[in-house]
């Protein structure tokens, strides 16, 4: 290799700028190229290009058999994904939003989550279901909820909540490699966010939580769309001399409780920030795990910052008020560490 060629190699950009939407599209494309058993199925994933434009262009590249538009029959196209998975394919089912997924709950809870166990281990369901979740776009009370915490209640499925560009890019493949049903909740407010990622991004796991900001004063435990609000709060607190650790759960089921307990063991304080409602929430579960596993490590009672217990309103000022914001998260931290 000549010196000149080496110079060209070095000059090639090692990072690329992508939106979260483009990152997921790249992951889908890679999966479709890698394995001919993989196909994408859902409402308007093909000709329309996906209601959030995630699958835009894939129909042209892979054709209507593998980029399969479905009628508005959530229960049956999710159930068809289960059946196709049991028959040897690797379906990726897209549901437009988590609110619509309620129409498919029978198939998800009664079939996808149970068949392996009910059949005594004979039939596994290697299915991936992706759906948009979350608020912040003034879409009111039937398009804005964060129900992934409900799904995390159900044994038999795995629940992922990517909050970073790397996870939008990287979680799909390990989900497809998993022999059991994996649900990916993509916070729709992130789709248009841009970020930098390695041109050849490294693989990610779908087992562990990840510390996104190391700190010593308090553990802020969060996931998904709330991650950026929490990081923003942590930066503003740093300016005040409060050093917050930010733990991104990434995987809501099975929960990486060890990572939570380790973080609390370092900081001795914990606040859970959850876009779900407070009562009976994932935040409640994390709080209980801390109480069970790190009670004597705590210098203060665990606190939670969750979405107000109200169907999401349309008006922007009301929606903003309902959601955990960097300011309200920071206020909760100040209160806890005694700077309030």
């Amino acid at each position: 290799m000549s010196v000149a060629t080496q110079a060209v190699e070095i000059a090639r950009p090692q990072v690329q700028r992508l939106t979260y939407r483009e990152a997921m599209r790249a992951a889908l494309r890679e999966a479709l190229l890698r394995d001919d058993r993989v196909f994408l199925m859902g409402e308007d994933v093909g000709r329309y290009g996906g209601c959030f434009a995630v699958s835009l262009g894939l129909l042209e590249e892979f054709g209507p058999e593998r980029i399969r538009d479905t009628p508005l029959s959530e229960s049956t196209f999710v159930g068809a994904g289960i059946g196709a998975a049991m028959a040897g394919l690797r379906p990726i089912v897209e549901i437009m939003t988590v609110n619509f997924s309620l129409l498919a709950l029978d198939q998800i809870v009664n079939n996808a989550a149970t068949i392996l166990h009910m059949s005594g281990g004979q039939f596994n369901v290697p299915l991936v279901v992706r759906m948009a979740t979350g608020a912040g776009r003034q879409l009111a009370a039937q398009h804005s909820h964060s129900l992934e915490g409900w799904y995390a209640h159900i044994p038999g499925i795995k629940v992922l909540a990517p909050g970073t560009l790397a996870d939008f890019r990287g979680m799909l493949q390990p989900a497809l490699d998993d022999p059991d049903p994996v649900f990916i909740f993509e916070n729709a407010a992130l789709y248009s966010t841009e970020g930098e990622i390695a041109a050849d991004p490294p693989a990610v796991d779908i087992e562990h939580a990840s510390v996104r900001r190391a700190g010593t004063d308090v553990s802020l435990v969060t996931y998904g769309g709330m991650l950026r609000n929490v990081l923003e709060a942590a930066e503003s607190l740093a300016a005040e001399g409060i050093d917050a650790e930010v733990l991104d759960l990434r995987v809501l089921r099975p929960l990486d409780a060890e990572a939570v307990l380790h973080s609390v063991g370092r900081t001795h304080r914990a606040i859970i920030v959850d876009e779900g409602w407070r009562s009976g929430s994932l935040a409640a579960e994390v709080s209980a795990r801390i109480m069970e596993g790190a009670f004597y490590e705590l210098d203060a009672p665990v606190d939670r910052v969750c979405t107000a217990e109200v169907p999401m309103p349309y008006a922007k000022h009301l929606e903003d008020a309902a959601l955990p914001q960097p300011a309200s998260i920071a206020a909760a931290v100040r209160q806890m560490v005694g700077h309030g």
Binding site: S73, G120, N124
Partner: protein
């Protein structure tokens, strides 16, 4: 009756006797299950198929080993006819580790990978979307297989029924829809729940061939189902059969049967396939009382063996309670 005799004349005599034997296997198996339920060896729900045997026996003749079956919670007969060993079905009823679902499913959730038996599904209508997916996989892979999906008249008013009919017709999937219309969704008679009681007519509105068959006539069931399955194998897309049948016993083990008249039950019992079919074979000279007696003896011996197997089978160790929530192997 002349129709039945004419049809019988086209059937191989050994096969005709085989059908009787298979119906006896289901009937006597379930009668023994009732005794075992009373003896508390079997618990939970026990939905008996007694009266409807001609459907599973006739229909299953049309399927190949590579085909798939999706069934309901009233599926003992389907499981036996699909070829799941009786001992494995009985052990499942006993909740034993040698049961076909390792004791995790019970009467309502019999599964068997070896025979592509995708379960007793106990959510009415819940199995239909699975059949759509099984058929979709076959179509996408270019495999010439049939997915046979059984469900009852109650499923016809579930949303999943309509979604599934539509999708199979729209995507031209190789799915054989088999509606066992026993006239009652638990205790609710068809005409009290459905504005259009002609079930085949409703299915045909999705632009697939659909017709009704006398579900008390095993030969008629077999003939119609063979025709439908062959048509699907030839690439015709989905087909729909409605078997008109009747459940002689309670919905589950016990119910006061306030929802139907004794006279109605008695009238249907006149058409009991375990009465009419051996009589038909007798008139045709294909069986004698002695032959029927021999069949009964063989069936009783098989059931005795199955019960003994279930009795002596181990139970799953409690330490294994949480196995099979997630897979123990990686996907390939």
């Amino acid at each position: 009756m002349a129709v039945q005799e004419a049809r019988l004349a086209t059937v191989d005599p050994d096969h005709a006797r085989h059908l009787l034997r298979e119906m006896l296997r289901i009937r006597r198996f379930e009668e023994r299950c009732v005794e075992l339920y009373s003896a508390t060896k079997i618990r939970g729900f026990l939905h008996l198929y007694i009266g409807e045997e001609a459907v599973a026996v006739g229909a299953m003749q049309a399927l190949e080993p590579t085909d798939a079956v999706v069934a309901t919670y009233r599926e003992h007969g389907h499981a036996l006819m699909r070829g799941i060993p009786m001992r494995a079905v009985m052990a499942e009823m006993f909740g034993k580790v040698d049961g076909c679902s390792r004791g995790r499913g019970g009467s309502m959730h019999l599964f068997d990978a070896a025979t592509r038996f995708y379960g007793g599904n106990a959510i009415v209508g819940g199995g239909l979307p699975l059949a759509v997916g099984l058929g979709l996989a076959d179509r996408m892979r270019g495999r010439s297989r049939v997915t046979a999906c059984f469900f009852g008249d109650g499923a016809v008013v579930e949303g999943e029924f309509h979604e599934s009919m539509n999708l199979t017709a729209l995507w031209h999937l190789p799915v054989l829809w088999l509606c066992e219309n026993n006239m009652y969704a638990m205790g609710t008679r068809l005409d009290r729940a459905q504005s259009e009681t002609d079930i085949a007519l409703r299915a045909s509105s999705y632009r697939m061939p659909a017709w009704s068959v006398d579900g008390m006539d095993v030969l008629a069931v077999e003939e119609a189902t063979r025709r439908a399955a062959e048509s699907i194998r030839a690439g015709a897309g989905p087909l729909f059969l409605e078997y008109r049948t009747y459940r002689f016993r309670a919905h589950s083990m016990y119910d006061p049967e306030r929802y139907r008249a004794k006279e109605e039950v008695e009238a249907w019992k006149e058409r009991d396939p375990l009465v009419t079919y051996p009589a038909l074979l007798g008139r045709a000279g294909l069986v004698t009382d002695e032959v029927v007696g021999e069949l009964e003896g063989e069936v009783a011996a098989e059931i005795d063996e199955a019960v003994a197997f279930a009795e002596t089978s181990a139970i799953e160790p409690v330490e294994d309670l949480t196995r099979f929530v997630y897979s123990e192997r990686t996907a390939s």
